[in-house]
């Protein structure tokens, strides 16, 4: 069995997984309207989930702090004496470095080296960059490399920052919502970008964690083989990722108590997800999308949202989807409208992204 724990989140909602979870329970959202740069001559107002002001998120430092905070929740000496991998998940890293002379400072392994500079004891480290499934995929990769015996422990950190680079790009796609996003709602109008970092530690050894960990069953990825930016109209990749995740995790669909979707709030993405979930027979299972709390944090999303799911399992409280009022997908979904204290065991997390990528992973309590 492989365990996940020591989760940590930095977002506009707080500086720990516990703070973030408490803020969500209290009904807060990290999204607010602030001046941002998005390619125009002057800053414009956008609804985003910024930790401070736009352009004021030192990604390397924040990642380092998050990794350090997670390590404080485990027996670090076990990680040092065992075989431990560091996996960084990001889409754009410190892309703001691109405007400086030369492009070398924007390289993703430069960011990785900054983050682990003082942590020489990692046996190995790598960067995974797979669009918006990066975070969830990094967790799955970490799980599988423990399972096959390559590593004993994997520290998985993910981060991305708000930047003119990504905001102007999504704006050119007309994918940005002028209002706080409304995943799966009839009147959804697109995404809000967000920023943040998260860390989760995976281990074959339950004993390293200061508090009881969650069981991480792993997962799977699949490609739509359809379009590089448009979600599949049949939900093919997500359907296959979920199906393969169930097989590889030896979990039956009937065992899933709750799932947390990708739910960006764009018309096509949410529609695609509803079709894939219907094909998997999951339309009745209570579910949420977390982008209404954090915005879309790109390469960090999979880690931050998985960490919230872990908190949800620990607290035995299902988190409502925020921004949803009226059903607006062709296939029905059981969107959770208010937080609910209830005993539950098995939770699935999914993600989808550009390049036709999809991922599904399963967490459970023992």
């Amino acid at each position: 069995m492989i365990f996940a724990g020591a989760e940590h989140i930095v977002s506009p909602l707080g500086n720990s997984a516990e703070e973030n979870f408490a803020a969500i329970i209290a009904g807060k959202s990290g999204i607010r309207k602030i001046p941002c740069r998005a390619g125009g001559k002057e800053p414009e107002l956008f609804n985003v989930a910024a930790v401070r002001n736009f352009g004021d998120f030192p990604l390397a430092q924040e990642l380092k702090k998050s990794v350090t905070a997670s390590l404080e929740k485990v027996d670090e000496s076990s990680l040092i004496s065992g075989k431990t991998l560091f996996l960084l998940s990001t889409t754009k890293g410190e892309i703001t470095e691109l405007v400086k002379p030369g492009v070398v400072q924007a390289k993703l392994d430069v960011l990785r080296n900054k983050v682990i500079r003082d942590l020489h004891w990692f046996h190995s480290s790598a960067v995974i960059s797979n669009a918006c499934i990066s975070g969830l995929e990094a967790l799955i990769v970490g799980h599988d490399l423990i399972q096959t015996g390559n590593f004993d422990h994997v520290v998985v950190a993910g981060g991305d920052m708000l930047s003119e680079f990504t905001l102007s790009g999504f704006k050119s796609f007309f994918a940005i919502s002028p209002e706080p996003c409304k995943p799966f709602d009839k009147n959804r109008a697109g995404i809000n970008l967000g920023e943040g970092v998260g860390t989760i530690i995976l281990s074959r050894n339950e004993e390293i964690f200061a508090s009881k960990p969650i069981v991480f069953c792993g997962g799977a990825t699949a490609n739509d083989a359809n379009h590089i930016s448009g979600p599949s109209r049949t939900g093919e990749g997500l359907y296959r990722a979920i199906s393969r995740a169930l097989t590889t995790c030896s979990v039956r669909r009937e065992e899933i108590d709750f799932f947390s979707s990708h739910g960006t709030g764009t018309s096509y993405n949410d529609e695609m997800e509803s079709i894939a979930f219907a094909r998997c027979g999951m339309s009745e299972i209570p579910m949420n999308g977390l982008k209404g709390y954090f915005g879309h944090t790109l390469g960090a999303a999979g880690i931050i949202e998985a960490a919230v799911c872990m908190q949800s399992l620990r607290n035995q409280e299902l988190i409502a989807s925020t921004g949803f009022e009226e059903a607006g997908t062709s296939k029905p979904l059981n969107v959770l409208l208010s937080h609910r204290k209830t005993p539950f065991k098995v939770l699935m997390k999914t993600a989808s992204g550009f390049g036709g990528s999809n991922a599904a992973a399963i967490f459970r309590t023992e």
Binding site: L98, D144, L145, T148, S172, I228, E236, F354
Partner: protein, 201 residues
Amino acid sequence: MRLGITTYCSIGHLSVKVNRKVVFRAADGSEDLLKLIYNQLNPAYPKFFKMDDLCRLGFLGVEWIVKERPELSESEDDAIALVFQNEMSSLQSDSEHQLQLNKGVASPATFVYTLPNIVVGEIAIRNKWFGESAFFVGPKSDVAMLVDYTKSLILNRKAKIGIVGFIESFAGDHFLRLLVVEETNSGDEFNVVSLSKFIAE
């Protein structure tokens, strides 16, 4: 389980090699190597011209592999895993998006290529492969993750065949080293040593 290397493909230095034999060579001083390789293969795939160089390079590498191994396109939908790495991520297209942004004319046609894994999507679309994939970012000297993860995908029965290797296109330089790996007693064993050696060729 022993994983063997059943096909090699390399692109660089104005040539394409399959199984270490030169199958295409451009004249010295040729420009736009990728277009010349496309013309040689002639796949009649207009989407190629919309792609950035990283995607064109990966697309062409896999086209050569499938030309050598036509049975790969008949394999089950989820049988093939695509596991790639490079050092520069999508920094070539990133720089182009930044230039357009500086001029106030950001374009979705450029922005969509500012992610390294788009090449995975292009190859999946072309070949109708729905399987596992991953894109790692790191230097040529550190390819352990490519080997470990590809092995784990096959060992854990998530894939039967891996198309795995290094795809880099930056500032007009193209470098591709791809392997087909699968469970077999023939061929060189797939490991960090054999992959690193092939990348250094």
